[in-house]
Every structure is written in structure tokens, then in C-alpha cells.
Symmetry: C2
Subunit: 208 residues, 2 copies
């Protein structure tokens, strides 16, 4: 028995923690989800595709989206803007899909403020050595860039307490199923079942 409105899920985590791989596997295995694509002013990395990883926009385009109230949140990270287009999220949630936003910690905290029922999940590797190993193994980043990412990760870990769950990405299959369960049990949170509770109360009063 599901409530009708989809849940808003925010997935964050250190780069190198494996968010992308986890999301891909989750969407392949379960039909319950829609992935929100962010708009960003940052340049595409090698292999990134317009409308798949991000909508790549100019600073002017981005600011006009802000102006038109077309983003549910936006944040600046290093020198770039990132934001979540509103329309897709609202449509998918109304259709009963749980919508996943893969966003940075700043944006996540804004979402939680605006949508207190949003579920915030932070992905971590089992330990820091594994994170370093994965970032190095990518081969797309210089040793200096890896160090900068690790330093940034240490800073990011400061906001982690605001998240609901820590998802440890040790073994992929286990991790994906755990993520699925974290989200699915959210449908049974008391706050998501208020309508059912009211109905039950009315019926009980009539019978009792």
C-alpha cells in the first residue's frame, strides 16, 4: 500500500564514492525511480553527455532560470552553478515515482529546508584509503587533483550529520538493494501515511 506522491530523495557523496554506478544499477533494477538531471554552468568532462549527466548551460541561461523560478534549488560549487529544474521533479512525483536528485551538500541542505520530508542519503566508501584508490584508479585526474578532491571530501564531511542515512558502498549489489530499501520504507513513514491514519480514525469512531 503506497501513498500516491513520490518521495524526493537526495543522493550526495564524495566523488569517487561510486554514486554514478549505484544510480545506474538502481534504475536498471527497479522501476520505482526517476532521476532528476541538474542544470550546470560547468564544462562537460570527458564522456559526459548533454541531458544525461547534466544540462550544460551558460551562466546567462542559468541566471534566467533562477529569475523565472524554474529551479527548486540552486547552489554554487567552486566557480560553477548547479540547479534542479522544478518541472520534471513535480511531474514525476505526481505520477508516483520517487525522484532522485544527485546533488552537492549545499543544495541538499536547501532541499531539506524546503521539503522536510525529503530523504537525504550520503554515499561513502568503506574507508578513506579506498576513496583515494578509486580516485587514482579513474586515471582522469592528476595526483594534485586527487589530493584536492580528498581535501574537499574532508571539508564536505562536515555537513554529513544533516543527512538521514549513510550508505556504505562496499559491495555494489548489497549497496544498491540497501538504497532501494532505504527509499521504499520511507513510504511507510508516519508523515507519508497521515491520510490513511485520518481515515482509520473516522472509521473507528463510527464502529466503536
Amino acid at each position: 500500500m503506497m501513498d500516491k506522491q513520490g518521495i524526493l530523495v537526495v543522493l550526495s557523496g564524495f566523488s569517487g564514492a561510486g554514486k554514478g554506478t549505484i544510480m545506474k544499477a538502481l534504475l536498471e533494477r527497479h522501476d520505482d525511480y526517476a532521476l532528476s538531471i541538474s542544470a550546470t554552468t560547468r564544462k562537460p568532462r570527458a564522456g559526459e553527455v548533454e541531458g544525461r549527466e547534466y544540462f550544460f548551460v551558460s551562466k546567462e541561461q542559468f541566471l534566467s532560470m533562477v529569475e523565472e523560478d524554474a529551479l527548486i534549488e540552486h547552489a554554487q560549487y567552486v566557480d560553477n552553478y548547479y540547479g534542479t529544474p522544478k518541472r520534471y521533479v513535480e511531474e514525476q512525483r505526481a505520477a508516483g515515482k520517487d525522484v532522485i536528485l544527485e546533488i552537492e551538500i549545499q543544495g541538499a541542505l536547501k532541499i531539506k529546508e524546503k521539503f522536510p520530508d525529503a530523504l537525504l542519503i550520503f554515499v561513502m566508501p568503506p574507508d578513506a584509503a579506498e576513496l583515494e584508490h578509486r580516485l587514482t584508479g579513474r586515471g582522469t585526474e592528476s595526483p594534485e587533483a586527487v589530493r584536492a578532491r580528498l581535501k574537499r571530501a574532508a571539508e564536505e564531511a562536515v555537513g554529513v550529520e544533516a543527512y538521514d542515512y549513510i550508505l556504505v558502498n562496499d559491495q555494489l549489489d548489497t549497496c544498491v538493494e540497501e538504497l532501494h530499501q532505504m527509499i521504499q520504507v520511507q513510504h511507510s513513514r508516519t508523515s507519508a501515511r497521515i491520510a490513511m491514519i485520518s481515515k482509520m480514525r473516522q472509521e473507528l469512531s463510527r464502529l466503536g
Copy 2:
């Protein structure tokens, strides 16, 4: 990856919602749990066994347990006292077992106050007509007693908002697995992973 301390789970729900059957199935299927047995001054019902459903004690015995601080919570319900013996709960949690307390709403609220990380789950039948049907079908209660229970249920539903989850007992197997997942994902709550987060931060600072 589990934290070492077991979780404290409170399971409540209308009588007739099927708590007993759910708990029995959960304990048969999963090794993760220990069931706390309450002490009560109420008389045993037909089929109830000392030390299985309850420890049946006199009012004098009960009050001396209160005096000795041997209960983690106690409450009065109708004319009887109910309480949770402390020692068993502490031992089992220390051994990494998730301990389930099947207690009334008053006791549940006291537990939440004392242990903010306790997980409160309220079991409901899919609708009120089903509850009436199950209470009548039991055959152990007069029509007047059934009506009294339904009335009491309507009153109990008032405290339900304090619970974390509503577990709908529609189909038993689904319900038992959902309960298992509700509890298991709790091990990944940020509050349960503070030690891991601190360790990660220290390691990242060293590497970055």
C-alpha cells in the same frame, strides 16, 4: 557494515492488528532480533504462558521493580501496570541484537523520550472493518468487548503521529519483510554511524 550496538525497536498497534503473528514470523525468519518480555500485573488470558507473552507479577512485585530501577519504562493501561525489565534489553543490545519491545503507546512515548534513537513502529490493519473482523473472529471476546476495543483503538490512534513508521498488516509475508527492512535500514542512520564518520574525517585530513 553494522554498528555494534543493537537498535531499540518499539512495536505497538491496535489489538487485532496482528502484532503477535508478525513478531513470531519475524523471529522465526531472522536471527537479528531479541524480543523483550514485559512484566505485567494483568491476569493471563487463555493460552498465555508465563515468561512467553509476559512475566505475570503481583502489584507488590511490580512496584518493588519500579523501586529498584529495574524497568526501563512502565505505564498503567486500564487498571494494570506494564513495564520493560532493563537487564535483558541492555544485555541483548550490547551483544548486537536489535531488541523489540511490544508495548502500548504510553510506554512507547516514554521510551522515545529516554532513547531518541529508538525506532517506533505502529501496526495497523489495512482498514477499520478488517480490524473489527479480526477481533470478532478471535472468538475470545464478547461483542461488547470488541466494541470497547474499537473505541480504545480510536483513542489510541491519537498518539500515532509520534511513531516513525506505520506498518500495514495486509499480507503477512510482505508485512514481516517490510518490518525487517524498517529495522535494518536503521543501522545506516547517520546517528548510528557517527563513529565511522569521525574515522573517515581523520583519515581524509591525513591524506588530503
